[in-house]
Symmetry: C2
DNA sequence: CGGTCGTTTGATTACGATCAAACGAAGTGG
DNA sequence: CCACTTCGTTTGATCGTAATCAAACGACCG
């Protein structure tokens, strides 16, 4: 069992979109858990698993994915510190997708029942967690649109914009410069392209003066131009969702 | 205000995956609402709208979609009678997508607050509605995979399989024969292809002896073969989700 | 009977996949 | 400290699936 301060990240994340009172915060901090530190590529959940724990991501990055019958991978979402990983499984008995560590990561494992009890005894927290899953669902929808109807440059630019804003919201950098937490192959699996093509498009984004790359570090040279190329609007992220602590306008005009 | 029996469909839908007690059922039936009958293509919600009502679909079909900056449409989901349409907006202030009628449809409009109160005062119902949104999210994930990583035949076959099972679960036919509620153009927008190509693939599915088409009526000639071509597994639909009324195995081995 | 909407078929194009190989950086072991 | 391996990135050449362009056809409707 780790020091409870760790769960503070989770409190902050939920308060980003839903109002909580002190009792609510305390209840979250008091969640029983064991911390687990995992290496990159460790599976936290496998499709078909019976779900018994809810993982709270305390540090590092994690991703959701599925595999097709012939072994192709589709990445479904990327998760950042403070996010609750298994809310999507918490009322469904069998996991329908895999969750795997992207980087080295620390995850607090909370028993399923503790989350159920939390939701029932602290309605504000229940609403906050529910809202959280609704925002995730909104992001899934945007991804359907992204892979379904946008060409490759637009698609990749869109993902870069999304990361910029989400990393900033998570307090992991600003939206003009950040460290991309994945390889080009993983990027390809997130946008439904091949790694080769992703590489070419990243190059083109650089040549067009939209981004600068130095290894995995992404600097957005011209947010407005990138946003236009990306067909990006931040609405689907619901960053200024009512009642949240952070529900003021972001300091820089973003999208 | 319409006769309350109508909402029975919604009760049945929720009970399909979550246990309810008589008081819960009564609370759902007692939901204040006005019925609205709409023509095909009527918008029920527009992206950017402030959400004040939750629509319960009593008859007909409805779909969610988004438009790209250059006017391309991506259909995000199809909804069948008994489904609650605005659960995804119920805690989010601004709608991030459009909801439009596919066919002539009847929708019971329930004020947002009534849904909030229902969830708070009847925890079983709250959990059922939350679970409902989680299953929707699971379907979104499968669609991300479908448009991201599957080729055109697989993609379309997959959609046909999904409809078969969902229509059967909704009591609108069996999984071997059903009426497709959409045009080939709408189909194309659901799977991220062009209408022309959808037409060719449907033809091919017929030639391969997987389906028979008569106008919009689809007959699945060989479920197993179609399922294989479609790379389809019903897991993501969570049809046998715990505690539900219908949580027995389906009568015919399906997937 | 024209008009509209949806389906069907044909011809050509293009975007991204695939195949192949080299390069660079980081880590390992001798 | 330097070979050697491994993993990720980069570049080039060719291929193929689905898009695009174009037009005819069929059904339903007023």
């Amino acid at each position: 069992v780790e020091p409870a301060e760790n769960l503070e990240l989770v409190v902050r994340k939920l308060e980003g979109h839903s109002p909580l009172e002190e009792a609510d915060r305390a209840a979250i901090r008091a969640l029983p858990h064991v911390s687990r530190t995992v290496d990159p590529a460790t599976y936290l959940v496998r499709e078909g698993d019976r779900t018994e724990y809810c993982g709270l991501l305390l540090s590092g990055f994690v991703y959701r994915h599925k595999l097709t019958g012939n072994g192709q991978r589709q990445i479904l979402s990327i998760h950042m510190p403070g996010e609750m990983l298994d809310l999507h499984n918490i009322f469904l008995d069998i996991a329908d997708h895999n969750i795997q560590a992207l980087s080295r990561a620390v995850v607090a494992m909370v028993p399923r029942q503790a989350i159920h009890a939390l939701a029932e005894n602290f309605p504000n927290v229940g609403r906050a967690m529910w809202t959280d899953t609704l925002i995730d669902a909104s992001i899934f929808r945007e991804w359907v649109m992204n892979v379904g109807r946008r060409d490759s440059i637009t698609r990749i630019a869109h993902l870069l914009c999304e990361f910029a804003l989400r990393l900033e919201a998570a307090g992991l950098g600003n939206h003009q410069q950040y460290e991309l937490p994945m390889t080009q192959e993983q990027l390809a699996d997130a946008v439904g392209l091949t790694p080769v093509h992703v590489n070419r498009i990243l190059k083109e984004l650089g040549q067009r003066g939209l981004i600068i790359r130095d290894k995995r570090a992404i600097t957005i040279e011209d947010w407005r131009k990138l946003r236009d190329v990306a067909d990006f609007s931040s609405r689907y992220l619901h960053l200024d969702q009512g009642g949240g602590l952070h529900s003021r306008q972001p300091p820089v005009p973003v999208a």
